[in-house]
């Protein structure tokens, strides 16, 4: 039993440090935000409870990324899952919260079960749960066992990360939690799963075959596309953000998967570069998704609804929140010169560099993956045009939106801090790349002192000698310069004056919010184009007064959640069927139970007799 006792409780390498930074950078503004958010929403006792849960939640995540022993890792992981469960069901008055919490706790425990299996296999070889012992054992581990461990870890961590098709819990659980918690869950908690993949697969296990990377790339591409297409269809603003988290986890995994691919092919430079791209997107996604969830929470707080079809025109009522949401939406749509743009460009470059350096069919595979990433970013832009445009622009669509007011100072300061980071992480990309390269080198044990991903302080250059550059600050300067120049020309040469008048209404009497384009209408072309995946269907119902007179007519359009319908529901039906069958064993008769005890005893005696 001695080997169970950890020799090294905490790790202090750069990977742990990096994740600690990510956790605190996003948790801090969320905590500040929660002052204003919780006030008036919950009773004082519940607010105290939420603070306790928040602190335990953040500390458990910090423990997950720092402990150096697999057993303690599992304990921390479990505390994190349980506390986040309590936070998901925090709004106990909502029926939806309970349902979301149940789905979440079941899925997360299925994931943990896979992790336990993986750790037990590792223990069998290492005779210890310490990471150091596991790392040494992994050198001599047979590749068959390594493959099994890799698959178990992938399912285990994939459930937490929300990789499609294990994402099923994420769109339920993330929106139900209070918004500052949603922001931490989407911004940070699902990243601990990425930490797990990097720590256990890349750092401890060591990539030994090519198909590991390829498998992760394929899953990542599927996650990207499925996540963003579902997000496009969504009209609940927080659920839209949750789906978009699935997409962004996919983008992060593209970087990680590429790094694994290049490691297996023995291309250290490219492996470091891809991992850096992945880590860069990880921290960026934490920042802008955290920001967007906080903004969505502000909208919810101000209007009392999350349905964007009921919102509209908020930019006039909540001008500051609108600016923060716009910045977040621009960053997540990868628009220059913000941070999402830089990391998506780096990920695309990782694909391109890989294709330049590899041969044959692999080139084409990487090229197609890169184009699918481009498709994802195009769809994400459409999704966030919808999210921002329908929520904040146009006319208010209901009295909820009309009576909205700007949120309190503590909420604004939390959002301000994150939007500031959105800009900084875009402009200071060279410095951040340098830091991340050191993190990646610590993970992969590769010397990076000779590698330079940047030309100078302001210009990125993925591989020297290829003349590929990106300078976000220069781009920002030119954009501002041309904008100002355009404005100057506009003022100097324009002679006409500006008249404020009604929107063109085709000569009708009055244009109201009922005439506006809705979110559902906005996503219609996508619903038609991706109907093979979304399987949209309509429900119409006529409410008749009599046979001849139809009083009202309801019309609904839905999309089918294919993973839920064709994977999870059949499994659930099967489980229920087995359970029903097993129920026959327990009819409630005490004689039968005594019989069971007797039979069990007999079997045990026979079993013991064999030794």
């Amino acid at each position: 039993m001695l080997s169970l006792f950890p020799k090294q409780l905490f790790l202090s390498d750069l990977l742990s440090l990096f994740f600690l930074c990510v956790i605190f950078i996003i948790s801090l503004p969320s905590a500040i935000y929660s002052f204003g958010y919780l006030k008036g929403e919950y009773s004082p006792a519940k607010i105290t409870l939420s603070w306790v849960l928040l602190i335990v939640f953040v500390l458990s995540m910090a423990a997950v990324v720092t402990v150096g022993n697999a057993l303690i890792f599992l304990v921390a992981w479990e505390i994190m899952s349980l506390v986040s469960y309590f936070l998901v069901v925090f709004d106990t008055t909502h029926e939806k919260s309970i349902q979301a919490g149940t789905i979440y706790i079941i899925m997360t425990h299925i994931g943990t079960a896979f992790l336990i299996a993986a750790f037990l296999i590792l223990y069998k070889y290492a005779h210890s749960f310490d990471f150091i012992a596991i790392k040494t054992a992994c050198f001599i581990m047979p590749s068959q066992a390594k493959n099994t461990v890799f698959l178990l870890l992938l399912v285990g961590f994939g459930t937490k990360a929300g990789i499609v098709p294990l994402h099923i819990w994420l769109p339920y659980a993330h929106p139900q939690a209070p918004s500052h918690i949603s922001s931490i869950m989407s911004g940070v908690m699902i990243k601990t799963a990425i930490y797990g993949i990097i720590r256990f697969v890349i750092f401890l296990l060591g990539v030994n075959s090519l198909w590991w990377g390829v498998l992760i790339l394929v899953l990542a591409v599927i996650s990207c596309l499925a996540g963003v297409i579902y997000a496009l269809m969504e009209r609940d603003i927080k659920r839209l953000l949750a789906y978009s988290s699935i997409e962004n986890i996919g983008i992060i995994l593209l970087g990680v998967g590429l790094a694994m691919l290049f490691m297996a092919m023995n291309k250290p430079y490219l492996a470091v570069f891809s991992l850096v791209a992945g880590l860069y997107h990880l921290v960026n996604h934490g920042i802008f998704k955290g920001l967007l969830f906080l903004c969505a929470g502000s909208v919810y707080k101000a209007t009392g609804t999350r349905d964007i079809e009921k919102l509209g025109g908020l930019i006039k009522k909540m001008p500051q929140t609108a600016v923060y949401f716009l910045l977040g939406a621009m960053a997540i749509s990868a628009l220059p010169p913000l941070n999402g743009f830089v990391s998506e460009w780096l990920t695309l470059q990782a694909f391109f560099l890989g294709a330049f350096n590899l041969t044959g069919g692999m080139k084409l595979f990487l090229g197609i993956c890169a184009s699918l990433l481009a498709l994802t970013s195009g769809l994400a832009a459409a999704c966030f045009v919808k999210a921002f445009g329908v929520t904040f622009l146009g006319l208010p669509r209901s009295h909820y939106a009309e009576s909205a007011k700007e949120v309190s100072l503590s909420m604004k300061s939390g959002m301000f801090f994150l939007s500031f980071l959105v800009v900084i992480f875009g402009l200071a990309s060279s410095v951040i790349m340098k830091l991340l390269a050191r993190v990646a080198s610590a993970v992969m044990n590769i010397d990076v002192s000779s590698m330079s991903f940047s030309l100078n302080t302001f210009t990125l250059s993925p591989q020297p000698g290829r003349n590929i550059y990106l300078s976000a600050p220069a781009l920002a300067l030119w954009l501002i310069f041309f904008g100002i120049a355009g404005f100057a020309i506009y003022r100097i040469f324009g002679r006409g004056k500006e008249i404020v008048y009604k929107t063109w209404d085709c000569g009708y009497y009055k244009l109201g919010s009922r005439n506006e384009y809705t979110a559902t209408a906005f996503s219609k072309p996508f619903r038609v184009a991706f109907n093979f995946f979304l399987l949209p269907y309509r429900k119409t119902q006529k409410i008749r007064e009599s046979f001849y007179h139809v009083k009202s007519f309801t019309y609904e359009t839905h999309t089918t959640k294919v993973f839920k319908k064709y994977i999870y529901e059949p499994v659930l039906v099967l489980i229920f069927r087995i359970a029903n069958f097993m129920r026959r064993l327990q009819p409630g008769s005490i004689h039968l139970y005594l019989g069971y005890i007797f039979i069990t005893l007999l079997l045990l005696i026979i079993f013991m007799g064999q030794f």
Partner: protein, 302 residues
């Protein structure tokens, strides 16, 4: 210095290119057509007019024309024009171009939603639909082109003398993308103002006066950027010669290349009917497949 010259060239010549295409189209249809200089007259007229801003609109609507113009001009900086390497090639590469265009488009779609008109919403929805399908095709074409030179630098492939098969296929893919991005038939129609078919025009429906002039200017420049790109891929040209006797044929050929593309666009526009919106997905899917074919050609080394 060269940067300023390049921007001026783009601003001065871009409306001419549009006028030329529309003149060609009219002549092909046996009409006399408007003057080649009509776009300049339009811009001048718009600049001197009053403008109407919707009372529903917020600052997004007022800012968008400047964002669209500045993003398009920033994209114009990345194109190598006078010399092989574009003057601002350290600012970004071929892929950055995709993202910069996305910036302008993002704001244009938002401004369309800002006025609360359903035309705007329709245009925004369709534009984002088309552009999101353009992006993978564009990326694939860039991939094919950059495979040959081993770099995504735009100037890297402009110095080639032999035109490989993959370049030709990629150029055709780029041409289809250009049609979609510059809202031309069969994807969109710049001439028609019918609500059922409008895409780009529906988005800018609420704009008038000077702001409309800026947006029109930006779309002229954007078109010219795409023409230059195609020209760089399919008719690569060397550096500006120092010898005076060679300069004139060089300059002539330089602009002939753009002319050839303009003629092709005009021919396509008069011979093909506009597609239904949902068939655009097939059209752009074809562009994507062409990109894949071009990549395969590049991998095979032809």
């Amino acid at each position: 210095m060269i940067i300023i010259l390049q921007i001026i060239l783009f601003i001065v010549l871009a409306p001419f290119l549009s006028g030329l295409i529309s003149k060609l189209k009219n002549n092909l249809r046996m009409r006399r057509g408007q003057s080649v200089l009509q776009p300049y007259y339009n811009l001048g007229k718009l600049f001197s007019k009053d403008e109407v801003v919707s009372q529903t609109a917020s600052w997004i609507f007022r800012v968008t024309p400047f964002v669209v113009l500045s993003s398009t001009l920033a994209a114009a900086l990345l194109i190598p024009v006078f010399i092989l390497a574009s003057t601002a090639h350290q600012m970004g590469d071929f892929l950055v171009l995709v993202f910069i265009f996305a910036l302008g488009r993002f704001f244009l779609a938002l401004s369309a939603l800002d006025t609360g008109s359903s035309f705007g919403g329709m245009g925004a929805s369709r534009e984002m639909f088309i552009s999101s399908l353009v992006e993978p095709a564009f990326c694939m074409a860039i991939f094919a082109i950059s495979l040959q030179s081993g770099s995504t630098d735009i100037s890297a492939f402009s110095g080639m003398h032999l035109i490989p098969v993959s370049s030709v296929v990629a150029a055709i893919a780029l041409f289809l993308i250009t049609i979609a991005e510059t809202s031309r038939i069969p994807v969109d129609n710049q001439e028609a103002h019918l609500e059922l078919t409008m895409v780009h025009e529906a988005m800018v429906l609420e704009y008038s006066g000077r702001r409309l002039a800026l947006i029109e200017m930006a779309s002229y420049v954007k078109q010219m950027i795409f023409f230059f790109l195609i020209a760089q891929v399919i008719f690569p040209i060397g550096e500006l010669p120092i010898d005076l006797t060679q300069i004139i044929p060089w300059v002539l050929w330089y602009f002939c290349r753009i002319g050839i593309i303009a003629i092709t666009v005009a021919l396509v526009e008069v011979t093909i009917a506009k597609m239904r919106l949902f068939r655009v997905a097939d059209f752009l899917g074809f562009a994507f497949v062409l990109g894949v074919i071009a990549s395969i050609c590049a991998i095979l080394g032809v």
